[in-house]
Symmetry: C2
Subunit: 250 residues, 2 copies
């Protein structure tokens, strides 16, 4: 099934189902981010870096941020796409990974996403150095400074925000007992409402995960329109900032 | 990609991704029901009965009920399964369809689900006779009486119910501008809570759709434990009964 597979690049085909799509028949950002997570997991598994091996070091990968450019309106239910990923660099504490979603012929790219990852000790819940045995197999360059990506603009303190409250549900939890990082996008975007979401196309986004949202919590997803085509978002839990995000539209 | 395909039986392989699975790494009922809907749609498309052809008659299929037996705990992230379906019978107003989810070798069945369908006029929103041209291609037998399946037990009027309220979100809507029938299972099951859901396995279910839940509505999902291993559920919207369901556990 793998079209291309080396230590560096990993790709899989995927047919877009209707339950991965929104009202307009285009894949949702949360589903696309879930698909990309699958490719990363499959690459790690193929390199022998399974969840058991990773957690056997006493730690786990944590996603710090994503940045992406998108054209998901060009995709429809039933389309077959190629999902791809490669590790792009790392230093002692951070690693970067790149993802893409393209057509079979390599003529058109629908998404290009970069992620910044850190490594967390499962006992202390603090960041620690990335174990060599978990990173060398990806054959990414070791670098002095890892690019952090564009940071989401913050909502100004005096801004009048719009928003909704959400409750974390049982089915939001994944096999690692965490809320799947991709679910945050549904909470972030839903408050924009049907009228906005059906009349605008997402062109780029950045998201920063600060604190984890946990099972059974109530969260507030708030936003302001910084410009008519630029929205700044935050997710808070009891006033604690969990996630910052920024989306650009056309 | 189709392992078997005739006028009657349609099957496709599917690899179970982590975002189709719950905390325990097993596929969720809502995701399994979404997968089965995909097989039914693909069969209809393969027979030339696309959404355009169906809606060209001025009507649309409506799911009245599902009944199913399940062993989803035997399935894990990464497993490849075969999803299958066939039309099983019809009369003037109702049709039945059967679904299964099995392993590649045909040794083990993980789900067997039957559905009862009716045909609704898109203008009057009332049931009408199934157009011949939409049903004959499936080559199912024409019958006098279509089996209705087991009806979910109702919650007794004086029962003390448990429950939660949910708001229908933008991303709950599918390309037909309806809440995907599969989403109801997340609303139905979530109120049972993590402790119950991680310590029990679903063995069978029945669900009846009475009234559609619509975008932006608030719904109440309530249940009682009829026995320690049998739960009766209902979804209401402003007091109007939308869905009845019953689940059996072990």
């Amino acid at each position: 099934m793998n079209l291309q597979q080396s230590a560096q690049v990993y790709e899989i085909p995927h047919q877009i189902t209707y339950y991965e799509c929104n009202e307009l028949g285009h894949p949702t950002l949360s589903m696309v981010m879930s698909m990309l997570a699958v490719v990363a997991d499959e690459q790690s598994d193929a390199l022998g870096l399974t969840n058991e091996v990773i957690q056997g070091t006493g730690g786990t990968w944590v996603i710090v941020s994503f940045n992406g450019n998108l054209d998901l309106h060009a995709l429809n239910v039933g389309d077959t796409v190629i999902l791809g990923t490669r590790a792009t660099g790392y230093n002692r504490f951070f690693a970067t990974r790149e993802f893409w979603l393209r057509d079979k012929d390599g003529q058109k790219e629908y998404a290009r996403v970069t992620s910044l990852l850190a490594f967390m000790n499962l006992t202390t819940r603090k960041m620690e150095a990335i174990p060599d045995k978990l990173i060398t197999a990806y054959q990414a360059p070791q670098v002095t400074k890892v690019p952090r990506g564009k940071r989401p603009k913050r909502i100004p303190a005096d801004a009048e925000v719009m928003g909704k409250q959400y409750h974390v549900r049982y089915f939001d939890l994944d096999v690692n007992h965490h809320v799947n990082n991709a679910h945050y996008f549904d909470w972030l975007l839903d408050p924009l409402g049907e009228r906005f979401l059906t009349s605008h196309q997402l062109t780029s986004f950045s998201i920063q995960y600060r604190h984890e949202v946990r099972a059974d919590h109530d969260i507030d997803s708030e936003y302001v329109m910084a410009t008519p085509l630029n929205s700044c978002h935050r997710i808070t839990n009891n006033g604690e900032l969990c996630t910052l995000a920024e989306f650009s539209w056309k």
